[in-house]
Amino acid sequence: MTPDVSRHEQESRYTVQKATWRTKVGLAEMLRGGVIMDVVNAEQAQIAEEAGAVAVMALERVPADIRREGGVARMSDPLIIEEIMNAVTIPVMAKCRIGHFAEAMILEALGVDFIDESEVLTPADEEHHVNKHAFKTPFVCGARDLGEALRRIGEGAAMIRTKGEAGTGNIVEAVRHMRAIMKDIRRIHSAPEDELMAIAKQLQAPYDLVVEIHQTGRLPVPNFSAGGIATPADAALMMWLGAEAVFVGSGIFKSSDPVKRARAIVDAVTYYREPEMLAEVSKGLGEAMPSLDVRKLAEEELMAVRGW
């Protein structure tokens, strides 16, 4: 046997397949039970990593500032994203606008580990989302209900997060969205098979994904929570309601003691079933982020309604 033939045989036997569905969803699975923190510079990224964050979201402005400053919110400056990527060893995520596949292509070229097609930024397309199957980088998308979650998974999202209402420090919308998703998952799981098409029609969701939930009783990809988490108790509440990990946006670096609060939220997600430990980590955290009453926000100020 010539060396060339043996090398050829070895290559065909051990073919490498990159960016498969399993490696995309696999990274989401590795982040379970963790906290993903919004950061705007390398220093904050290091604080987050030191506190025990499983990943950071690289941003120019946190949602609370986007809300305050108004105007069009776009993908962050690649220079800031790169600085953050160089500062930490944990995965780095970054946001593109809904439907803005050119921003997503730039983020993939930078090598970010996860792309968040996010309602926190101003949508670029009011009808279509990015075709996420076309990318090697995994995507996370927000959802308010199960139909929205399954449409995003149908487009290729490898992780779902409840939207909540970002930048408010108010957990009420995250709770509403998580309860809505879990309620419909239970309904599909216990429904007789001959009702699944009608449910798919009602939810405006891909039929095959509805069938999958009927069989497994869970979302086909990890289901995380975001939008309004400000305290360790908020994080624990979302874990009890079915979140598999949490995103904390403005809640850490808009609080009076980010180092202590970041660590406390990390501990709370791991020990959400232990009230004594939650009490311990919740002590003396200082002021939480400035908060907003979602009911007093005008319709055009709401971020969660963006997405179709």
Partner: protein, 190 residues
């Protein structure tokens, strides 16, 4: 026999599902008291910095180290491999440091380089196992007494040192039970 799965963070649910599938009683380990009564431990994939910090904060590291030194079998996947290593190149992060190996984190690159492939596994010489590598580490150095169980593309991706087993890949994300069954063999031999 009860196998504990360290459930501080990461894909512990997949390991629990795999153990259930092969008929082994398993339990989540989050607190010191959860270590009582387990015969072996799996350290799952996840973020090694997060798991290491939580282990140190809640003093699980000392207890696990003591149990391992008295012969308790441990199997680490990916982050678990990193946490078992004595040396983590370029990092001072908290670890168990039980195996005489050096590791390089994210050795294949960022997420976009994550891959799967059939890879050789010494205990099952006729059939390769499906290796899923996610921001995976590799073993860069091994000490005496460390057996190399798998090399892929010239890189060491599975090792064993007595009661300690570690893989850079994630059998728990596949239907392939053989690596977990091999670990059961180590437990039974103990």
């Amino acid at each position: 026999m009860i196998v504990g799965v360290l459930a501080l963070q990461g894909d512990f649910a997949e390991h629990l599902a795999m153990l259930a599938r092969i008929g082994v009683e398993a339990r989540e380990v989050r607190k010191l008291s959860d270590l009582e009564g387990i015969d072996a431990l799996i350290i799952p994939g996840g973020e090694s910095t997060t798991i290491g910090k939580l282990m140190a904060r809640y003093e699980l590291d000392k207890a696990i180290r003591a149990r391992a030194q008295h012969g308790m079998p441990i199997y680490g996947t990916c982050a678990g491999l990193i946490l078992l290593a004595n040396e983590i190149e370029g990092s001072q992060q908290p670890r168990l440091g039980l195996m005489d190996i050096a590791v390089v984190r994210n050795a294949f690159g960022r997420q976009i380089e994550s891959f799967e492939a059939d890879i050789p596994f010494k205990p099952t010489p006729e059939h390769p196992v499906r290796g899923v590598f996610i921001r995976a580490p590799i073993v860069s150095k091994v000490g005496k007494g460390v057996e190399i169980l798998s090399e892929f593309d010239g890189k060491i991706v599975a090792v064993q040192q007595g009661n300690l087993l570690a893989t850079a890949f994630h059998p728990e994300l596949t239907d392939d039970e053989r690596v977990h069954r091999y670990f059961l063999g180590i437990i039974k031999a103990q």
